[in-house]
């Protein structure tokens, strides 16, 4: 065999290996999803969605869990959205290139890499203990807000960066101030991108269990929280709880709850992808 033949053979072999590896990724994904569907789909019905937790697997539902998840989503959005977008706007539109902005950038990239459980420790010490909020929805939402803040800031900056400078020039040239330009031109033009980022960040927050366990979200909360200071549980924690039970019936419940959680996560991601595509199609600068 000539060298050239060998090279061609290696080339082909790698191609096969590449397809194989890609397939592993996809097949594992498929196996996971199918496994979950087989285990849990039969368990999902109206009652499952509207029942309180119960010691009897067959009677237990996820009402409080998804209500808690919804609460957390809303509160986290209210807290993280303005904060993250403002910070993104500041860094992209206002900050001069200096030590501080450089430091902010490193800092944000670092925060994005801090494990979520560390945020849990932060939340427990600051929100739960020092601010005395206890294991409440508010503590949870504050903790998760800090967790997703870096993601929102980074995506906001990306979205703002995509707005062409000519739009800013146009606005300044008509006598608009910096803030008027940001508010009337930059933010509306980048809104789609910002929204996409926030939804992606929220889909991350929805799946988080570790930091909420640390701040003390409970296992058995048989009521829908009615104020931000109420105790709560969320889907991932309910799943964690059920997963740690040895009885088959609870594993089925866990699978069913996972389907709901995945439904929410995929829905959020789907919306984000849809928005992004729409955005890309709509605006051709």
């Amino acid at each position: 065999m000539t060298n050239s033949d060998k090279n061609r053979l290696k080339d082909k072999a790698f191609q096969v290996f590449g397809i194989f590896c890609t397939l592993i990724g996809l097949v594992v994904l498929a196996v996971f999803l199918i496994d979950i569907l087989i285990k849990g789909l039969g368990r999902i019905d109206w009652e499952f969605l509207t029942s309180l937790p119960s010691r009897r697997a067959a009677r237990a539902g996820i009402l409080t869990a998804w209500a808690g998840t919804l609460w957390i989503l809303v509160l986290t959005t209210i807290i993280a959205f303005p904060l993250g977008v403002s910070a993104g706007v500041y860094l992209e539109e206002y900050a001069r290139k200096n030590r501080l902005s450089n430091f902010l950038e490193i800092n944000i990239s670092n925060l994005a890499g801090v494990p979520s459980i560390i945020y849990g420790l932060l939340g427990m010490e600051i929100f739960v203990r020092q601010m005395g909020l206890g294991g409440s929805l508010l503590s949870g939402a504050l903790t998760l807000s800090l967790l997703i803040l870096p993601i929102i800031i980074v995506t906001t900056r990306e979205a703002i960066k995509a707005v062409p400078g000519s739009i800013r020039d146009g606005s300044y040239a008509l006598g608009a101030s910096k803030w008027q330009t940001v508010w009337n031109q930059v933010l509306p033009a980048s809104f789609g991108g910002i929204l996409t980022g926030i939804i992606l960040a929220l889909s991350r927050a929805v799946g988080e269990a570790a930091p909420l366990i640390v701040i003390g979200a409970l296992a058995y909360v048989p009521f829908i929280p009615s104020s931000p200071l109420d105790e709560f549980t969320v889907l991932p924690i309910q799943i964690f709880n059920w997963t740690s039970r040895p009885q088959e019936a609870f594993l089925i419940n866990a699978a069913a709850a996972i389907i709901m959680l995945l439904f929410i996560t995929f829905l959020l991601n789907g919306i984000a992808v849809y928005l992004r595509n729409k955005q890309q199609k709509k605006i051709k600068w």
């Binding site: 080339d11 890609t22 990724g25 996809l26 904060l83 500041y90 560390i118 101030s177 570790a210 996972i258």
Partner: protein, 291 residues
């Protein structure tokens, strides 16, 4: 500048600066709690003692078993994710038709959006029973399936970020390689991967950092037993699992036991902080080079 403009800018500035406060908050919380810990337990004991039993009568405060557990699961995860992820990245970039890349890449990225409790569930209820068919001694809680599932989770981190890095290599380099008679494989591994190496290294470091900090998968599937071992078949405990375990119970504020989770937390933070900074530094350097 109008006053209102200044106020607005001030508010925006404040929002940005809050991120610094968060970092300070994290460091302060970790330090202030673990200082109390280190007043009782010497740093030497913490680093050299081989057992971790802070909650028991015979208290030992060696972080090594937790670090070992963390490293073991991380190592398994990377051992799965690196070859898979890198091969996929190269395959998608160099071999796959554009259409396939457009479909496969986002499909794989779904893997990264699945909440980690769900992975924990898989590790415990699917992967472990499956592996037990081949590995008789495999315990129900073990580092192996937790690590493998974690590896699957971070495959898209490596494959997507590396693919981005490879596609960022100027097309002219690929053409140069082809123009010299390279096969696709030679082009990929002789030219493209080396040229994209910093981006690939960044993706791998980020993946390691992610694996080190991953919590729910190991908390559900790896066991809760601090054990200084590199045996992947038995239950172990990671730093993150320890924090979860203690948090699930109620260890009173201010007690030494309570402070142990911050001592564990700061260890974890130091690891990930170092990894993140290295990757940030490489990324910065790399960007400057290519502009």
């Amino acid at each position: 500048m109008k006053v209102s403009e200044r106020i607005i800018e001030g508010l925006l500035w404040l929002s940005a600066v809050i991120t610094i406060l968060v970092t300070i908050g994290i460091i302060w919380v970790l330090l202030s709690q673990s200082i109390g810990f280190f007043q009782v337990v010497s740093l030497t004991e913490f680093l050299t003692e081989k057992e971790w039993t802070p909650l028991f009568a015979d208290k030992k405060f060696g972080i090594m078993p937790l670090v070992a557990g963390t490293l073991l699961t991380t190592f398994i995860a990377i051992a799965v994710a690196l070859p898979l992820g890198l091969t996929i990245a190269v395959y998608l970039n160099e071999y796959a038709p554009a259409r396939m890349r457009q479909i496969v890449k986002p499909l794989l990225e779904i893997l990264a959006t699945i909440p980690t409790v769900v992975y924990g569930f898989f590790a415990l209820t699917v992967v472990t029973p499956f592996l037990q068919q081949f590995i008789p001694g495999l315990a129900g809680f073990n580092a192996l399936s937790a690590g493998m599932v974690m590896g699957i989770m971070i495959v898209p981190m490596i494959s997507s970020l590396s693919e981005d890095a490879i596609s960022a290599v100027p097309r002219s380099l690929r053409e140069a390689a082809y123009g010299m008679g390279s096969t696709r494989l030679q082009t990929a591994f002789g030219v493209m991967v080396p040229a994209a190496s910093s981006g690939i290294v960044v993706s791998v470091i980020l993946a390691i950092s992610r694996a080190v900090g991953e919590t729910m998968i190991v908390a559900i599937a790896a066991g809760q037993q601090p054990r200084l071992t590199m045996n992947p078949l038995v239950p172990i405990e990671t730093i993150t699992t320890y924090i979860v375990q203690v948090s699930l119970g109620d260890v009173p504020h201010g007690s030494l036991e309570y402070k142990t989770i911050f001592a564990a937390g700061i260890t974890l933070f130091v690891f990930t902080f170092a990894l993140n900074n290295i990757s940030f530094w490489i990324k910065k350097k790399y960007q400057e080079k290519y502009d």
